[in-house]
Subunit: 335 residues, 3 copies
């Protein structure tokens, strides 16, 4: 059969103490991981809905994601996912996350996210299979989806070459400089990070990226901090079990009340030295600083020192102003 | 408002390598944990559905549960829960678990379970609150529920007194003896404990050794305790995935402010009975006792009873004095 | 190429609630685990730095380690590792751990550790490979390293024979007796086992109960085993964070193709010695033995020895026959 639009997927997760920072706010990375898990299930299910070669859906890209309201430990996260577009070789999934306080019954929308998956053959993991088409309830849906598909394809190509450089440690840096808060984390990819076929779950990588970004932000402003948004993340190549990944974060820009942190993920095959270390993913995370009462605080201004840091600061400012303009456009549309 | 029958709850979980045995079958315990998590959510939500004192639902009983068909790693577990009866102070929840192979689409019923919860006040956790009544769609439902309630109540009362005896009674040792604090832990080596090649990471073994030493120290001095040092540890032979390791700890020596605990690690191949159980590692851990303010406290003196215990106490004293001399030598070197 | 001294490795880890005891001090075992992970990465990378057979570095020994100052949850651990000596078949790694309070910026040295690794071939894990030599910046470094190498080698040989005895030897029970497969597990209740209010989730307790029952079953029949059913479980009293629970399992009955295991859960408040140890829960688990192909196998018959064991065997038989009759009644009900 196949070809018909598959039903949506609904899951729920209870937030544990380990999912949150000291203030009880659930890490953005935990939420990204849940979102990705829902995305893998619905897209793998869809790609196997027709008879034919069996496959697993692998995360290729996450679109820019905003964290609309904080989630706390003890709350239940409701995650719903739906396939919204298919191209010949990729699936677009839209995911909504609601937080529910089961004591008061209050529910809030915390995230909307869009993810792209690619089906890889289980027999030959370098072979991309074809995706069964979905049936759209309205004609425009297909047209709009195609436009989103083309836009992300273009952006993917661009970012692939952008991320050349590496975070370098500094010597006794001054507070508020880039070097002062710069951090990196190494992680040996173990079996429980991986799919059955030995690739790291995209959600695991994103959780580590958010963790590093959070450390950079906390070092910079020395307060309780939370993820406000994550830029689009592209996954350029699979990361396999046994690889060592280095996740590096550096602050690029500060506005009055927000910090932008660039996070780079490099994968090192370690035992296989025929394959060089490669850039696996990168993204910009935006964090805000919160008071004890949960109000957003001004952040110390970043002091860029080198030419590169100054250039990245200006680029960050550009992204910030663009996003601000976009958001004001949404809130207050011109008649 | 309240009083009406709340909707069912549906959740899903993806089964990870760590949830399963070496043959890929998900542990019954993992399934029981998921079932209980769904039960807590729906019953806590129901018990807080009316205005009034906030509460948390605590598990009081699980009815007999059959595992109808095995679940495998990579499959998705669908858990649905429904409140089927309420008494004045308890909630009955029925949970169904289905396994779904997302590659083939096959779904199977794996479990039906019935759980009983009791709402405890968040202000005073020894106070049981009243449960808002559910509305039944058919009259018989209430009557059948009441019968199940009475039956389990009777059985609960009976079992409370039945379980008098204890495995390995241990002859009620006196405080401060070696037998009193002696502890051992068994651990089934799972995938996330291991390298890619199926050997336990040395770090995992050391973490378990420290855990046992900490329990011995806490049992002995009944205060907050921390690791002060660890003796050299030798790893004599590899431990493989699926083995059962027994980590045993016994106190060997106490000085004024420190305790020495010997920890032995024995590995048992279990399913491979051509290979005998062997000693995989051993070490001495030194712990100190801390007050609430983090100051080090005197520890109760160990009372060695047998000849072996006395001999080990003297050996421990030797190591203690030697280390003390060495440390004083470092701090205050002779010219 | 190879032969040159590889760069050091620097990583960081954030300390989670589960990494610490109730007072917020990170367990020594968690720190040892981090240290070992850094050691594995740097030594595996070094041993694969030349073309040749691929290998994994396996921990052989950790030198005596002092915990110089406590680390707390919320702090960031900085782990740096360096290869300081290589012999023909082993690598010495020195690791430093600093704790950083990211809010105040305070850093403290918490540990210095020395670890020895041995490279095992990935093709044949019983074969030790050769280690590429490091280049020393000063001549004396090699000489000092060689001295450390010889000293540890000597000590290793000695300890291999020292560790003869076993805690609670248990008198070498015969196969198929109750004592032979009897097992118990201790578990220190951590934050992630608990609700927000500090009680253990019922599901966590059930998962541990199933784990012990599974170990008893595997020890008895030495095959792959799965849970077939669980008897009603009653939870008599709450278990709190920081308590130590002992989960004991013993086989009570075997039919042709099933094993019944009784599991008892005892809770010990440890640091609160006003409250005695109490029975928190108990249940009977039924397990079956499976062949490689998933077919159910006959199980070795249990040999009860003491009067109590014989009595429990008869009670188990009663439960078995009752359940069998009930099930046949369901399948083929009489008119």
């Amino acid at each position: 059969m196949g070809g018909e639009k598959p039903g949506p997927l609904n899951g729920l997760w209870i937030m544990r103490p380990d999912d949150a920072n000291v203030a009880g706010n659930v890490h953005g990375g935990t939420i990204l991981k849940m979102i990705e898990e829902a995305g893998v299930i619905i897209s793998t299910r869809h790609c196997n809905s027709q008879n034919g070669e069996r496959c697993v859906a692998v995360l290729a890209r996450v679109e820019r994601t905003d964290f609309l309201s904080p989630m706390c430990i003890g709350e239940v996260a409701h995650v719903s996912a739906e396939i919204t577009y298919t191209s010949k070789h990729s699936v677009e999934v839209q995911v909504h996350v609601m937080s529910e306080n089961i004591l008061t019954g209050t529910k809030k929308l915390t995230n909307k996210a869009t993810l792209w998956y690619v089906p890889l053959s289980l027999k030959n993991v370098d072979k991309v299979l074809e995706v069964p088409p979905v049936v759209y309830s309205r004609q425009e849906q297909q047209e709009e989806g195609r436009r989103r598909y083309e836009a992300q394809k273009l952006e993917r190509m661009e970012t692939k070459w952008r991320n050349g450089d590496i975070v370098q440690p500094g010597l006794n840096p001054e507070p508020n400089t880039v070097s002062y808060s710069q951090s990196s984390l190494i992680h040996l990819v173990g079996p429980s990070d991986c799919t059955l076929h030995g690739f790291v779950h995209g959600g695991v990588t994103m959780k580590l990226m958010d963790e590093v970004a959070g450390i950079v932000a906390a070092r910079h402003c020395k307060t309780n901090i939370v993820t406000a948004s994550v830029d689009a993340i592209n996954f350029h190549d699979k990361i396999r079990k046994g690889y060592v990944i280095t996740i590096s974060g550096r602050m690029t820009f500060t506005s009055n009340k927000s910090m932008e942190i660039e996070v780079l993920v490099d994968a090192d095959p370690v035992v296989d030295n025929t394959q060089p270390r490669y850039r696996a993913a990168s993204a910009f995370f935006t964090y805000v600083s919160l008071s004890q009462e949960g109000r957003s605080l001004p952040v110390p201004q970043l002091v860029p020192e080198t030419e590169d840091e100054k250039k990245r600061f200006e680029e960050g400012k550009g992204r910030y102003l663009q996003m601000k303009a976009k958001r004001q456009g949404q809130v207050d549309p011109q008649p």
